[in-house]
């Protein structure tokens, strides 16, 4: 589980969003990355990130939301 308790914050304020911006602590290039369960939007079935990266020569993952 994440150590961030306010991930789904209600308001865009610096005290809410700045603790989330931790790209410098993200996994390193060139070493195996952590795998996580994810859910397919279409049928809400569970999968894993590894299920996708293992299917392709390369996998491009864009993280995002409405804004």
């Amino acid at each position: 589980m994440s150590q961030i308790t306010n991930y789904n914050y209600e308001a865009f304020t610096p005290e809410n969003y700045l603790p989330l911006m931790r790209f410098d602590e993200s996994p390193s290039i060139g070493v195996p990355a952590p795998d996580f369960p994810l859910w397919r939007m279409e049928d809400q079935s569970q999968t894993h990130l590894s299920e996708y990266w293992s299917q392709y020569r390369y996998l491009v993952v864009e993280f995002g939301s409405f804004t």
Binding site: R22, P32, L38, W39, W53, Y56
Partner: protein, 156 residues
């Protein structure tokens, strides 16, 4: 990003969109309180932004997103063994396309030409094109609260 996905698909490149949290919650798309709501938002996002790539949804508490740095619009590229070979804290289509060309076209060509290559890591600052008007349209789509909070946070 949809166009890049289509352009490189025949070269063994898969592309997904991973739906995370609402960075600018508003009246129309508020913060997530359930997975059911998160799935509804992801479905709406597909329709509004015409995302043609498979959309996957992260856990409600953002376990995957947080582990990868929890920036609002990152792009990562993995090889088949789950090793990140590219990561950017913001998505820029030019940068992603250049990276794919480097791995798919340029590096194999150097090997075919006889170069003996060893991996190394590099960091550099890149520049993305900003579309302020489109960003504000996105905030407005989320609702007046999203616009107001962004302006307040930026001191506007």
């Amino acid at each position: 990003m949809n166009a890049i996905a289509e352009r490189f698909a025949e070269q063994g490149v898969g592309s997904i969109f991973l739906y995370t949290n609402e960075a600018h919650p508003g009246e129309h798309y508020p913060h997530h309180t359930s997975m059911a709501q998160k799935f509804r938002h992801a479905q709406a996002l597909r329709e509004v932004y015409n995302v043609t790539r498979p959309i996957l949804v992260d856990a409600l508490e953002g376990d995957c997103h947080i582990a990868y740095g929890s920036m609002p619009n990152m792009t990562w590229i993995f090889n088949q063994r789950g090793i990140p070979i590219y990561k950017s804290d913001w998505t820029d289509t030019y940068s992603v396309e250049q990276a794919l060309r480097y791995f798919i076209e340029e590096t194999p060509a150097r090997r075919r030409a006889g170069a003996r290559l060893a991996p190394f890591r590099v960091e550099r600052l890149e520049y993305r094109q900003q579309d302020r008007a489109a960003f504000y349209r996105g905030l407005e789509r989320n609702g007046p609260k999203a616009v107001k909070e962004f302006r307040a946070a930026m001191g506007e």
